[in-house]
């Protein structure tokens, strides 16, 4: 299963690129000029995203540095331990939507302190692997087209993350808890 997927992952891009280029050739498109014309936009997209990325990444990193997360951690710690959820994974649950690099850091910490074969590490792996950093995705995707009124986008992302965390706990309990 994993080998098949790996092979697909490696071959899919070359196949897509060849299909697009050969179809362009068949339609007599000036390939090189058209490519460069499109590629020009790459720089401006990055420049357009930049202010949104600064706004969101800075606010999130300040929030993390202030110790506000530790406060949330203290509140939720006791009820989670009562549900037999390793309290270290709580930091991960709270950080998951906020920061991708912080999530990977916390995940590595959990794996190192509890061991790669522990229940905590497996639960952490499922939580980390099953979601994307909501705040970053919003900054990049909406920033690129200048959307500032998000409507329900953020709430949707956060609610879906919560659904994911609850599912991760239930599914991991079923697969790994002994």
């Amino acid at each position: 299963m994993k080998e098949v997927l790996n092979t697909i992952s490696v071959w899919i891009l070359p196949v897509i690129i060849c299909v697009i280029l050969l179809h362009g050739l068949y339609k007599k498109i000036p390939l090189y000029e058209t490519f460069c014309d499109g590629a020009k936009e790459g720089f401006w997209v990055a420049v357009k995203i930049l202010p949104y990325l600064v706004a969101i990444m800075v606010a999130v990193s300040m929030f993390r540095a202030s110790g506000a997360l530790e406060f949330l951690y203290e509140i939720f710690k006791t009820p989670l331990e009562a549900l037999k959820i390793p309290s270290d994974t709580l930091a991960l649950m709270i950080t998951r939507s906020l920061s991708g690099s912080a999530t990977l850091g916390i995940f590595s910490d959990i794996v190192n302190t509890h061991g790669a074969d522990s229940y905590a590490a497996k639960l952490a792996a499922v939580i980390t692997g099953s979601s994307e950093t909501t705040f970053y995705v919003i900054a990049v995707y909406f920033g690129a087209v200048g959307i500032t009124k998000l409507r329900h986008a953020l709430l949707t992302g956060v609610l879906a993350d919560m659904v994911g965390i609850v599912c991760a706990v239930i599914v991991s309990r079923f697969f790994f808890y002994s």
């Binding site: 299963m1 994993k2 997927l5 697909i8 992952s9 891009l13 697009i20 068949y26 339609k27 498109i29 058209t34 490519f35 460069c36 014309d37 499109g38 590629a39 020009k40 936009e41 990055a46 706004a55 990444m57 800075v58 606010a59 990193s61 300040m62 540095a65 202030s66 110790g67 530790e70 990977l104 590595s108 794996v111 590490a121 497996k122 792996a125 980390t128 692997g129 099953s130 979601s131 994307e132 950093t133 995705v137 919003i138 995707y141 909406f142 087209v145 200048g146 959307i147 998000l150 409507r151 329900h152 986008a153 949707t156 992302g157 879906a160 993350d161 994911g164 599912c167 991760a168 991991s172």
Partner: protein, 191 residues
């Protein structure tokens, strides 16, 4: 977003004052604004490459062809878009690249799709449309078949059978992917 952004910053300062961590917070502010620039600029190369390739597909009519083919499926999820919208192709490519774990390729396709949807946006160009929110929900849910970076960390730390997390992760990400789309569909009536 105004209120959330303001709250994040004000709450940070309040907690920093209580915990005596004002220096850390100010440092985080200065350092992260710099790393945000690095993140944005690291996107330039890959973005330029894919936008170049996509431009060729657009001009040759391949994007239109593909969009027409997947129109029936897309029409169900993205109700308020135009028929055979060019966005469909880029949404499908964005989803496929994400599923295969090719985050580098997924982002340019996703941004291209957002640009296509923005062209169809009949209202104020600062306000997200239903279709944009749905596309965003698909991406924040982070559906992927194999969580490569997580596996790499587990294997590096000496897990005896790291692959056993693949199936549970796939189950969870599928559920949260579907619920993200459903939640977005429900909330779009409220907001």
């Amino acid at each position: 977003m105004n209120i959330i952004w303001l709250s994040l910053i004000i709450i940070s300062f309040i907690f920093a004052a209580i915990n005596g961590r004002m220096e850390e917070v100010v440092n985080a502010m200065l350092k992260t604004s710099q790393s945000a620039v690095m993140v944005a600029f690291s996107l330039i190369g890959i973005m330029a490459f894919w936008l170049g390739i996509v431009k060729i597909a657009q001009k040759s009519g391949l994007i239109d062809l593909f969009s027409k083919a997947i129109d029936p499926v897309m029409k169900i999820i993205f109700k308020d878009t135009k028929k055979n919208s060019q966005a469909y192709s880029n949404i499908a490519l964005n989803f496929s690249a994400n599923a295969l774990g090719l985050a580098n390729a997924a982002t340019p396709f996703g941004i291209k799709a957002m640009q296509d949807l923005q062209k169809e946006n009949p209202n104020d160009k600062k306000v997200a449309t239903n279709a944009m929110c749905t596309l965003l929900a698909m991406n924040t849910a982070g559906f992927q078949l194999v969580p490569a970076s997580v596996l790499a960390i587990l294997i590096a730390s000496g897990a005896t059978n790291a692959a056993e997390i693949i199936l549970p992760t796939l189950i969870v990400t599928s559920i949260s992917f579907v619920s993200a789309i459903l939640i977005s569909k429900i909330l779009e009536r409220v907001f």
